[in-house]
Symmetry: C2
Subunit: 162 residues, 2 copies
């Protein structure tokens, strides 16, 4: 699997500057883990009791072993994948943080289908034993309520501004 | 509009017991605001610069005024609505928190259509001026990747356990 990643967007809105770089590094390391395709490494970024609201069912994955299967299934369908983050925003203090971004997921599936979609990512992080870990995450696309279909072709330019 | 709400689930996993009750109270007050149908009161729970990843497009709402329109649109379609939270989980310290739950949304739309769905909610909260405010939230349902459709009939019993 050829995986490529890009560094996260440098724009941020940070409560604590001290930990901002730590959490950004954590995110970049996580991207590198996805890049390597090393499932053990990927899962090492999650707390053992992580609760994940993923793009695909069920409603929630409880525990890192359950969530690992979802990751394995997702990576197993991909020939090549690239993640880019935009509008990355972190709120953090010494041992607790939440972050969110829009993530551009592009690549090619093993069946030859191209992937090019923007998803929304929210993470809840805890610093445990000196390491930032993801205790919770939610990943989704908006729904067209007329067709009930997920909308995969939205672009971040289409932002509703204040 | 006749809105009903239920108290949030009492099960939780809390980092700081001191602020747990504050954040639960904030959530219950928010439900009461929805119950009252008072849009100003509802929006008072958000920071001015809230970034929201809502069920419906666009990808993100930036700022409370933009998000208010989404709330107005949503409430405007409903004759009756009831929110219940399950698996409510809070991680918090003095001035920062994240929380998540599964929310059972039932009710009736003005066009007579019944609503009965479970959604995933994640919130990032900040304590500002002595009050907990939602600086970020994401609300979604999982997608069936074969049909691209949002899945509205999932039940929380269908949890993938560790």
């Amino acid at each position: 699997m050829a995986l490529q990643t890009s560094p996260i967007d440098k724009k941020s809105h940070v409560v604590s500057n001290d930990v901002d770089s730590e959490i950004r590094q954590c995110t970049e390391d996580f991207f590198a883990a996805v890049n390597s395709g090393d499932i053990d490494k990927i899962m090492s970024f999650y707390t053992p009791d992580v609760v994940a609201f993923d793009m695909t069912p069920p409603l929630q994955f409880v525990g890192v072993n359950a969530y690992r299967k979802s990751w394995e299934n997702g990576l197993g369908t991909m020939k090549e994948i690239k993640f880019e983050a935009r509008d990355y925003k972190v709120f953090a203090n010494d041992d607790l943080a939440f972050a969110h971004c829009l993530s551009h997921c592009t690549g090619e599936m093993k069946n030859g289908k191209k992937m090019d979609m923007w998803v929304r990512w929210t993470g809840g992080l805890r610093k445990i034993g000196g390491k930032w870990l993801v205790a919770h995450e939610q990943i989704s696309v908006p729904i067209d309520m007329k067709t009930d279909k997920g909308i995969f072709d939205l672009k971040p330019e289409q932002v509703a501004l204040n």
